[in-house]
């Protein structure tokens, strides 16, 4: 087996792990805002490495440079934060429960009506 396959396999495994962890976080974490972190982050890297693998393999198997997978990564890097932002906005707006014991609830309330946070 050639080494490209090996590297690709490694990338694939990494990607898989991150994707799985992201989704585990989605289940495991106690409140929405915390869940929000897991997929939005894990997936970028996860998919990224999968796409790396795909690039490697297609480039090696075919005679041309197959790097269009970069596009997907680019897309995700641009969109993922905005998606997260929009979902968070929505969550704040509909007053989604936050896990008790989380800090800065005043800040959250300020955020809910997009006003200045009162000091202290």
């Amino acid at each position: 087996m050639n080494w490209i396959d090996l590297i690709a396999a490694v990338f694939i495994l990494i990607g898989g792990v991150f994707i799985l962890i992201g989704s585990i976080g989605l289940i495991r974490l106690p409140d929405f805002y915390m869940r929000l972190h897991a997929p939005t982050k894990a997936t970028t890297l996860g998919l990224g490495s999968l796409l790396m693998a795909s690039m490697l393999l297609f480039t090696s198997n075919n005679d041309y440079f197959s790097i269009h997978e970069i596009l997907i990564t680019l897309f995700l890097l641009i969109t993922a934060p905005v998606s997260a932002h929009m979902m968070a906005k929505a969550a704040l707006h509909v007053k989604t429960r936050t896990r008790e014991g989380s800090k800065g609830l005043k800040v959250r309330d300020a955020a809910q009506n997009r006003s200045k946070p009162e000091e202290g």
């Binding site: 087996m1 396959d5 090996l6 690709a8 396999a9 490694v10 694939i12 495994l13 990607g15 898989g16 792990v17 994707i19 799985l20 992201g22 989704s23 585990i24 989605l26 289940i27 929405f32 869940r35 929000l36 997929p39 997936t43 996860g46 998919l47 999968l50 796409l51 693998a53 795909s54 393999l57 297609f58 198997n61 197959s66 269009h68 997978e69 596009l71 997907i72 897309f75 995700l76 969109t79 905005v82 998606s83 929009m86 979902m87 906005k89 929505a90 969550a91 707006h93 509909v94 989604t96 429960r97």
Partner: protein, 89 residues
């Protein structure tokens, strides 16, 4: 080795998808569900890429690209629905 990794990871992504659906049904709140849907989109991109690699055919690349675009749009639309109700105003 590669096939083995592919098999393993596809399995992992499948589990991920199951977890997403679970969250989707569980809720409890609408934002959770939107988040779950968004994650599902991304995970299915992963699935398609894996399938493409497995098949060794580039035919499925566009599908992945499209999901990336459309997933964003639908997430945005759903969030906007929660925020404003009227998503196009």
């Amino acid at each position: 080795m590669l096939d083995w990794a592919l098999l393993l990871v596809s399995g992992g992504v499948c589990i991920a998808l199951i977890l997403n659906l679970w969250r989707l049904i569980l809720g409890p709140d609408l934002p959770d569900r939107i988040l779950a849907l968004d994650t599902m989109y991304i995970n299915s991109i992963a699935l398609i890429i894996l399938y493409g690699i497995h098949m060794g055919s580039p035919l499925y690349f566009e599908a992945a690209l499209l999901i990336a675009l459309l997933g964003f749009v639908s997430t945005a639309a759903l969030s906007k629905y929660l925020l404003r109700g009227d998503i196009i105003e």
